[in-house]
Subunit: 357 residues, 2 copies
């Protein structure tokens, strides 16, 4: 994907709904935090030191390409427009943290969007790998390959007793954060979600909204990730998360079935009404759009709605976000009302084209 395409195409390859169990698990992601020895952590480093990190990492790109068989592009955050930066956040390619101080910040992205490496975020290196559906093993393998390549060239901060050293102690050890994005309308509508979330927390997992820490839950989408990085191996971490996700998935499928079995009319009425509103609304906020899209997606999964391909939901998840819409039109000069109109028009267009009723 060229840089221009990255900002314009709504669907990233790891969100295309092609993966395992991707009706419920939208995507799997791992992130490794790494730091280079002898250089202070980014929030303590001076410009020369930050530049040194950038140089070090950019030099390794050819080796990364060879090790992974992918091509990469490196982008300086401060050379991107504010809008482009925000689109990358909405597409989960970088964190919102990474655009706070854009100077001497890089992001290196693979052409298939599945790998992104943030340089000089909270740590010198944040290696992210993402795939569609539930497959944390594949993402860990991919991330480890990149990590191995980097460690072969750079001296990475690591001690026998503490593992990888990181800027924030919560990442100390493996430096691994594994997370899955789950669509859980069944558990929300049957009011089981809090019970499930509490149980997850007790298992050492964190549950958050679509945009990670501090973000609210919209569209019934939840990010579930490991909290502990010390005292567990990488494999144990992803095994633990995977088994919790499988458990939640079983509950979600059961909840949907029970919901539909108990009151098929109520459920089909709900999902069809949401479809009707999405198809005809002339103005819609991002949060309302996601809530309605979530119901339509459940309707597709429950075989109530046949005429819309499931990936329309995944696509609209990103394309209904404000900055993405801004970037498509008028270079960011849209008012909030204009964005809401633009969003409604875009959703209408997708549903009119994507459906055949």
């Amino acid at each position: 994907m060229s840089q221009a395409e990255l900002f314009i195409k709504p669907l990233t390859s790891w969100m295309d709904g092609s993966g395992i169990d991707s009706d419920i698990v939208l995507s799997s992601r791992v992130r490794l935090a790494r730091n280079i020895c002898q250089i202070p952590f980014p929030n303590r480093a001076n410009i020369a030191q930050l530049s040194k990190v950038e140089e070090n990492v950019e030099e390794i790109i050819p080796e990364l390409a060879e090790a992974t068989g992918k091509t990469y592009q490196s982008m300086s955050i401060d050379k991107l427009s504010t809008l482009e930066r925000n689109v990358l956040v909405e597409k989960h390619m970088i964190s919102s943290n990474h655009i706070m101080n854009p100077e001497n910040r890089l992001v290196i992205v693979s052409e298939d969007d599945k790998i992104s490496i943030m340089v000089n975020e909270e740590d010198h290196l944040r290696i992210q790998c993402m795939v569609s559906g539930l497959d944390l093993g594949a993402t860990l393998e991919m991330a480890s390959k990149i990590d191995d390549t980097i460690e072969a060239k750079l001296d990475i901060a690591f001690t026998e007793d503490m593992g990888y050293l990181t800027s924030c102690p919560t990442n100390l050890g493996t430096g691994l954060r594994a997370s899955v994005m789950m669509h859980l309308p069944g558990l929300v509508f049957t009011r089981q979600i809090n019970k499930i979330m509490n149980a997850s927390t007790q298992l050492g997992l964190a549950v958050r909204g679509l945009y990670g820490e501090g973000s609210e839950v919209i569209g019934n989408i939840f990010q579930i990730s490991n909290q502990l990085t010390l005292g567990f191996s990488e494999q144990e971490t992803i095994d633990n998360l995977t088994s919790a996700v499988l458990e939640i998935m079983t509950h979600e499928r059961a909840a949907r079935k029970a919901l539909y079995a108990q009151s098929p009319d109520v459920v089909s009425d709900k999902v069809w009404r949401s479809y009707g509103v999405l198809k005809y609304a002339r103005t819609i906020t991002g949060n309302e759009a996601l809530a309605l899209l979530s119901e339509v997606r459940m309707g597709i999964d429950l075989n109530i709605i046949h005429n819309v391909p499931a990936k329309v939901f995944n696509e609209l998840l990103v394309s209904s976000r404000g900055n993405y819409l801004q970037n498509l039109k008028d270079n960011g000069n849209l008012s909030p009302n204009e964005i809401d109109r633009q969003r409604a028009a875009m959703i209408r267009e997708v549903l009119m084209n994507g459906s055949n009723d």
Copy 2:
């Protein structure tokens, strides 16, 4: 219209939207209350006396046909099923009062549905004439022709000082109740409706819901009628009501224009969302359907919605009523939930066929 058609066809000719200003005035109606001398009012009459009234009136049908150039059918209320009786009420052909004690009650209906004569309702004769749009003059002329024919054959109770004698003193004098059914979403949404209604009351007019006295306002439809029958001529009564209706109509048009001019996005979003819900809902109550239909109709009138003919609204006004739906299916054995599903299915079908989006 044959008797069978009367119960199955949703649209009566005086509701087809063909009349003057029928975008706002759905229909005009006059009703004359008459009683035959020497026979007690229906609530005091015995069976023999009620039968006598029925006979007297049925004998005049040939003269009525000649005077008006229409054919008539006479139906005994007690020979109709409960459902059929209720359909006639929903179609405004008879009052809900008229089916309370169905024995010795008749209704005589013209083949074009524009004339209905209730026999032995509160008065011996209740002559009703209805047309599409605003044209009280035409309805009064039609009713007077029938009245003249009846008075030429029967001795009608009338005194010089009190006019026509009626069972209830509120009808004494002309025995005339003129009313118009108005669709006033603009005044409702701009919150001017109470002001307008209070002014109407001060002008001696009564304001009620879709089904007359005691019925709630649904679908932003109001019945406006004269309250006074003593001290005014028939012509004065309809002139007074017509001028009030014209005034309200001016306010309604101004309200719609202002609403749309001030916030075109909000208005078009509202009407399109209502359309979307009507088109896709799988279950819907009668009142919700009317509320949404009212918004869609306003959207048609404001040229926001082009792909639906306006008369779909008028048709659905009747066909979304519970008894009409009952009568179409399973002979009245539908549960309330089944009616709501049936209603949603019927509306969907009409909108899918009637529209071309």
